[in-house]
């Protein structure tokens, strides 16, 4: 069982500089063909300062830094037994190429269902940009199957 003492625990922050090349690679990987996501001129014509990070891109920040995997390791949750349960984003300001975002994650809840056959880890993250503005809030539910 995941130790409930971790509820409220704040993981190490992750900082990611959002690069144009990375966004173009991400757009390719999800099959995105709208030029707003791969052509700087099209993005600017659409009113963005630079290529926008697609809606789910911010999830990458904690994966790149290793913070998400480190948190699972710290809570003794084996990666081979996890499934993604839920994910949610609240958008407060745009994130575009050239921005540097910092994600800080806190353990919101830990609980189990089906007599412990499934355990759930809920986290909440706050994403701030280089100017200190909160640009997004992210919630995640990870499922540990036994």
């Amino acid at each position: 069982m995941i130790d409930k003492k971790w509820i409220g625990h704040e993981a190490a922050s992750s900082t990611l500089t959002v690069e144009r090349g990375r966004l173009k690679f991400f757009a390719k990987a999800i099959g995105e063909t709208n030029p707003v996501y791969s052509d700087e001129a099209a993005a600017q014509a659409a009113g963005y300062a630079d290529l926008p990070a697609p809606p789910t891109f911010l999830f990458a920040a904690e994966l790149d830094s290793g913070a998400m995997f480190a948190l699972l390791d710290q809570l003794e949750i084996p990666l081979s037994k996890v499934l993604h349960g839920e994910e949610g984003f609240e958008y407060l300001a745009p994130v575009v190429a050239g921005d540097t975002v910092t994600v800080t994650t806190r353990v919101k809840d830990i609980y189990d269902k089906r007599g412990g056959a499934l355990e759930f880890l809920e986290t909440e993250s706050v994403v701030i940009n280089q100017d200190g503005a909160t640009v997004a809030k992210i919630r995640n539910t990870t499922v540990l199957r036994h």
Binding site: R22, F25, F26, K28, A29, I30, G31, E32, N34, V36, A46, G47, Y48, P52, P54, P55, T56, F59, A60, A61, L63, D64, L79, S80, K81, L83, H84, G85, E86, E87, G88, F89, E90, Y91, P94
Partner: protein, 139 residues
């Protein structure tokens, strides 16, 4: 297609659907690199089997990214306020995913006129893979 406006949208309206190519290993490898999710269960058959899975399978966040495309094909991303997904089933190799969405509510949120959209992704057998909602501001 012109961008939707609050007055032109009715509850029950459908978003233009999005059909994805059949899921294959290359898609998973590219998404692992682009997203930073290097969990070997998605890219290494041996690791997937060791974890009790019959084969590698898609990242949940790849399925959610496709639903993101459904939303931003319909209304500009700058108007997206919230986007939530519940992963109901694993997307497997060979699945052909269809993303759909429907307007279910018109409301005011933080002083803005918005619509709530219910979205889902299903495979070619009609099995639900992701159920979600989004809040989109419309002028």
């Amino acid at each position: 297609m012109p961008a939707p406006t609050f007055d032109s949208i009715s509850i029950g309206d459908s978003l233009p659907q999005l059909t994805l190519p059949t899921v294959n290993r290359t898609m998973l490898a590219l998404f692992a690199g682009a997203s930073g999710d290097h969990n070997p269960a998605h890219i290494d058959l041996d690791e997937a089997r060791a974890a009790g899975m019959p084969d590698v399978f898609a990242h949940g966040m790849l399925g959610m990214a496709w639903l993101g495309r459904l939303l931003t094909n319909w209304a500009p991303q700058a108007q997206l306020r919230k986007f939530d997904a519940r992963f109901a089933g694993i997307i497997h190799l060979g699945n052909q995913i269809l993303c759909t969405g429907k307007v279910v509510e018109k409301l005011e949120h933080n002083g803005e006129r918005c619509v709530r959209v219910e979205i889902s992704s299903m495979n070619q057998f009609g099995q639900l893979k992701i159920a979600g909602t989004a809040l989109v501001a419309l002028s």
